[in-house]
Symmetry: C2
Subunit: 401 residues, 2 copies
C-alpha cells in the first residue's frame, strides 16, 4: 500500500505552482508555472534515484530501475498542466501517484523486474495550444513533431519557442522509448462514480472528440442608428451557433457539445459586432455518432444567413483499452475490497494515445459534484489514496507476468 | 462658404491620430492618441487667435472673439474620440467644421456679434468609460463630476487618472460657461439620408437610450465528461439573451437592441463556460417604447433558469431640439439649394445633453452605406463641405438676432 498522507502532502505542495486565490490552479502548458512544477517533479524523482529523460516535445520520463534492464519499463503518469482556473487534481494526481509508487517501492526495498517510468506528458489540456494530449499524441505517432512545433497560441507564440523559453525542449527523440504497459490514474471529472457511490472507476475506453474553429464575419455598425432589418450582427449569428451545438448534442445522446471559447470584435457596447471567433468541442462514444453531430453542425451553419467559416481542426477516434490491463484493474480493486464500476471516459486522456502503442488502461477516482476544469475540483485524501493503491497493485501484477 | 478642400485636408490629417491599417481610427477617449489630436486641435485654434479653456472633465472650448463681449458665445463642435476600429468622420467632422468656420470668418474679416466657441466634448463614444456623452453630460448637469471621475475602464483606470495621465484635467469649473446656442454637425451614421438621396439631415431630436450590464454565473465543468442535462453553461444562457434582445427590438419598431460586448470566463474550448459578461444597448424614440423594451428584457431574464444579474446602468430620455434652430437649419439648407429632410437621430450626441441648457439643433450629412462605428465609414468631401456650409449659415443667422 502507498502512503496516502505523503501523496496528499504532494497534492497540497504542488497546488502552489500557479495556485489561484480561490483554491484552484492556473498552470497553462509551457508557462513559467509549468516550468516550476516540472522542476519540482524532476528534483523529486532524482532524489529517489530515477534517471530523467526529456524528449523534443518536452515529455518527461523519470525511470526507477528494475532488475532486468532488457525488459521495457512499465509506465504510469499523466500531466502537470491545467486549464485556466482549473483544479488541483486534474492530471497531477496521476504523476504524483507515480512518484509515490516509487517511494513505496524504495521504502520497502521492492525491486520490480521491469523499470517503472513516471511520465509527464506535455500539454494534455489543449487550452493554450491545440490539440489536447499533444505530447502523448506526438509520442504515439498521431501527430508529426514538426507540425506540432509550429502550432501557435493566441499571442502568436509557437510550441517550439515556448518549449525553449522554459528550457524543456529535450534531446531524446520523441517516441524513442517503449513501454511494456501504461496505466494512468486520473480523477473522473464527471458525476458517474459519485452517483453510483463507487470508489474506483475501471476505465474501459475513451469517447471520441472533434474540435472545430468557427469564424463569423458580420458588419460593424452603429448600435443606435442601424435599423434591425439592415444588420449583419456576428454575435447574433454566433449565439445561434452556440444554441445549435447544444441542441445537436441533446439530439445525439450520450454525445456532448460545447462552445467553450468566444471572442467578439470590436467588443464595444454601442457597436453591432463585426466578427466573432468560436471554438467548439463535440464528443460521442461512437464514430458514427460523431459523424452525425458534425453533419448537423455543418447543416446549421449552411442554413445561417451569415458569413461563417467552419474549420475542423482535430479529431480523436473513440478508444478501447487493453482487456488484460482492464481486467488487472478490476481484479486489484476487488482484492483491495474497493467498490468499482466500469466507465467510458468522457474526458480525453494521454492514455487514449498510448493505447495505440502498448497495452494500456486507466483508473478513475470520484470527483466531488462531478466537477473538473473548475477551481472547486475535489477528490478526498482517501479517494486519491485508494486510486494509487489500485495503481500500485496493477503495476505489481503486470510486472509478475 | 467654407473652404471644402481645407476641411478635407484636416480630416485626412487628423485621421493619422490613432489611424489603423484598414483606413479607420482607434482613438479611445483619454488615451495617448486622444491627447495627440487634442494637442493638434488646440494648436490650430490658438494659431487662429482663439482663447482656450479646458474644464475639469477635459472638455475643450476654443473661442474666437465677437464684437460684443457681453453676449454669450454661440457654440459648435462635437468630439474627437472614436470607437475601437472606428471611422475618420464620427465626431471629428463637427469639430473640424468649427475650426474651418473660424478660418472662414478670419479670412473674410467677418466679425460676429457673439463669440464663436468650438467645443471638443470628452468621451462621447462611451466605449472605454460608461456612459457615452460623458463630458457634455457633466457639463449639462445630467451627471455629477465626482461620480463620473470615479468611473473605471476594464483595466481599472479611473476617468480622473486617465484625465491626469494625458494632462487634460483642466481648471475651469464644469458647466461654468454658457452659450447663446449650440449647433452640432455630424455624420448621420445610418442609412436614411442615402436612401432618400438627400444632402442634408435636419435633425429634430434624438431617440432615447438605456444601457444594461448583464452578469451570468454558470458552473465551469469539463466539456467531455459533463452530461448535457447536468450543465449550467453561462454562454448558452448568454446566447439566449443575445437573441432575446434582438427579438425584443424587432417587436418594438422602430426600436433597436444590441449586445455589442461579451466576455467569457474562463474562455477555454474544453471548459463549459462558468461566467459571461454582456453589455446591452436599447433605443427607442419614445420613453414608453423604452419602458416596454426594458420590461421585456427583465421578463426574458426572469424566465431563464440561469443565475443572471441585470444592472440598468444608464438612461438618456428622447430629446426634441429647439424649433427655432431647427428652422434655421432648414432655411439655410434651402437657401444654399441643398436637398434636406427631417430625421430623428438614432445615435446619441452631445447635442442631446446641451439641448437641456440652451437652444440646440444638429445638422447631418450622409454616411456611405449607412455605416459608422466601422473603419469603412465614409462621407465625401462634397458632403462634408455642404454640411459645414449649412453650419456656417446657421451660425450667421443665429448671430443676427
Ligand atoms: N482530462 C482532461 O481534462 N483532458 C483535457 C482534454 C480534454 O479531454 O478536453
Ligand atoms: N454618435 C455616436 O456615435 N455616439 C456614440 C454614443 C452612442 O450613441 O452610442
Amino acid at each position: 500500500r502507498i502512503n496516502g498522507n505523503r501523496l496528499w502532502a504532494d497534492i497540497v505542495a504542488t497546488a502552489r505552482f500557479g495556485g489561484t486565490d480561490n483554491g484552484g490552479v492556473t498552470r497553462l502548458t509551457l508557462t513559467e508555472e509549468d516550468r516550476h512544477v516540472r522542476d519540482w517533479f524532476i528534483a523529486e524523482c532524482r532524489s529517489l534515484g530515477c534517471t530523467i529523460e526529456i524528449d523534443r516535445i518536452g515529455n518527461i520520463f523519470a525511470t526507477y530501475p528494475g532488475e532486468d534492464p532488457s525488459l521495457q519499463p512499465i509506465a504510469v503518469g499523466s500531466h502537470l498542466d491545467t486549464q485556466p482556473q482549473g483544479g488541483r487534481f486534474d492530471g497531477i494526481l496521476g504523476v504524483l501517484a507515480g512518484v509515490e509508487l516509487i517511494r513505496t517501492l524504495k521504502e520497502t526495498a521492492t525491486v520490480l523486474r521491469h523499470g517503472l517510468t513516471v511520465v509527464n506528458w506535455t500539454n494534455e489540456e489543449g487550452s493554450r495550444f491545440s490539440p489536447a494530449m499533444m505530447g502523448s499524441g506526438v509520442f504515439a505517432g498521431a501527430s508529426r513533431l514538426e507540425a506540432i512545433e509550429a502550432v501557435r497560441d493566441r499571442d502568436g507564440t509557437s510550441v517550439l519557442s515556448a518549449l525553449e523559453a522554459i528550457g524543456y525542449r529535450g534531446e531524446t527523440l520523441v517516441g524513442h522509448l517503449g513501454f511494456a504497459a501504461y496505466v494512468e490514474l486520473h480523477i473522473e471529472q464527471g458525476p458517474l462514480l459519485e452517483a453510483a457511490a463507487t470508489e474506483i472507476g475501471i476505465v474501459t475506453g475513451v469517447q471520441g472528440v472533434r474540435w472545430f474553429d468557427v469564424s463569423i464575419s458580420g458588419t460593424e455598425a452603429h448600435a443606435g442608428s442601424t435599423p434591425m432589418a439592415q444588420r449583419d450582427d456576428a454575435l447574433v449569428a454566433a449565439s445561434e451557433i452556440v444554441l445549435a451545438v447544444r441542441d445537436i448534442a441533446r439530439r445525439h445522446p450520450p454525445g456532448v457539445g460545447t462552445v467553450g471559447f468566444a471572442s467578439v470584435g470590436p467588443n464595444s457596447r454601442n457597436v453591432v459586432p463585426g466578427s466573432v471567433q468560436l471554438q467548439i468541442d463535440m464528443r460521442h462514444p461512437s464514430e458514427a455518432g460523431l459523424d452525425q453531430m458534425q453533419a448537423a453542425l455543418e447543416q446549421a451553419i449552411e442554413a445561417s444567413h451569415s458569413n461563417i467559416a467552419l474549420r475542423h481542426i482535430w479529431s480523436k477516434q473513440p478508444v478501447v483499452f487493453d482487456p488484460a490491463i482492464v481486467d488487472a484493474v478490476r481484479a486489484n480493486a476487488a482484492a483491495l475490497g474497493l467498490s468499482a464500476t466500469e466507465v467510458v471516459s468522457g474526458a480525453g486522456h494521454d492514455a487514449a494515445h498510448i493505447a495505440g502503442i502498448c497495452p494500456t488502461a486507466m483508473i478513475f477516482v470520484p470527483s466531488k459534484d462531478g466537477l473538473s476544469h473548475n477551481e472547486a475540483e475535489y477528490s478526498s485524501p482517501e479517494e486519491c489514496s485508494r486510486g494509487a493503491d489500485v495503481l500500485l497493485q496493477t503495476v505489481l501484477q503486470i510486472d509478475l507476468k
